[in-house]
Symmetry: C2
Subunit: 216 residues, 2 copies
């Protein structure tokens, strides 16, 4: 109860929440980058970062005159996600299956360590059709085999989780499997970052790769 207010107060501030939102791309940002992103003075940002780090929400590693910070782990991303999706007007399935694949995937992004946005939703739909996951977004047995063929190694972390993205209101694929697929796609050059922040696009190689995997 006491503990609850501590966490909540940290996230109740507009600026600190903006920091966390930016860090949801899973990368490390410098203090100045975050200050510019949230439109506050560097001194203000510095104080906020100290508090977030002391609370265990962020971790830092210093390199020369830079102070890099990032989320302390997937559990933080999951907490942020849980709180955010709670506030929203609830999941609206949005039943449109529309549009050609490449069109639908046009705008994607990362959500901490997995794919989100339209790209993430397309991935989820593809995995659903392939039978890798079922309608409740739970892994199936053939799905686990399928993942292992892509180099996936089960660990303590939950294999699949449903994540409701901040902008799209559609649940997509998170958890260890979501993170692994995202990593594999980066390694194969199937997706790449574009612009400055979390945006991600499917490359031509990626379109072909997805087709070969049977993902729409």
């Amino acid at each position: 109860m006491e503990a609850l207010t501590r966490v909540a107060a940290l996230l109740a501030d507009r600026t600190r929440a903006a920091f966390c939102g930016a860090l949801l791309d899973g990368r490390a940002w410098t203090a100045n980058e975050l200050a510019a992103h949230a439109r506050v003075a560097p001194s203000t940002a510095s104080e906020h970062l100290t508090r977030l780090i002391e609370a265990g929400l962020l971790v830092e590693y210093r390199q020369g005159r830079h102070r890099y910070v990032s989320l302390a782990g997937p559990h933080v991303a999951e907490l942020l996600e849980a709180m955010t999706s709670f506030a929203g007007p609830g999941p609206q399935p949005r039943g449109l299956r529309a549009a050609s694949a490449s069109e639908a995937m046009a705008r994607g992004r990362t959500c901490y360590d997995h794919l989100a946005g339209k790209l993430g939703v397309a991935l989820k739909s593809g995995l659903l059709e392939l039978g890798v996951v079922n309608g409740d977004l739970a892994i199936t047995e053939p799905g686990l085999v399928w993942l292992k063929e892509l180099g996936f190694e089960p660990s303590k972390r939950q294999v699949v989780r449903a994540c409701v993205d901040w902008t799209e209101r559609v649940p997509h694929l998170a958890g260890a499997a979501g993170a692994h697929l995202c990593q594999v796609f980066f390694e194969r050059g199937w997706i790449k970052r574009i612009g400055t922040i979390r945006a991600v696009v499917l490359t031509p190689a990626g379109e072909q790769g997805w087709r070969e995997l049977g993902l729409t």
Copy 2:
């Protein structure tokens, strides 16, 4: 991000958090009861309740001159739980299997709709030994049969969840199964509320019933 700060700000206040903590017993409280519990004036409590209700965290039903409020559902309890357990110093398994059963169960309470405190931990340990759940607190196949014999009907709600209690730092059994078992125990007179708030004790009938089920 905007949405995040809205929820967080609501829970960042000491008084509102105290309300939610009290309501975690799953029952409906009146405005005055909550005001007294949090040591604020009734007028102050009234304003807080209005805000919590508008945000969808609580629901009210009015009866005469009383305004009863309760948590809006399990999803709220789960959010509170997620935020609270985050703030703590992390789960410390606390390997002591000590003490006679009735002694260890002496102090129990409800956590929204399931058992918590030492009683909840004892229940979890018993179910673990029975093989109803495994070490990761996931339901097993024989466990599901066992539950169905106690009248459990699977629904959309997740069958078992791990819940870290506010006071004990040990994970215990929540989710649909935890709620069902708690309800059955109440119906059978195995547990009963004591004192004014969330405290629960195992009755003599309950001790016998638990033994017959094989729960320590």
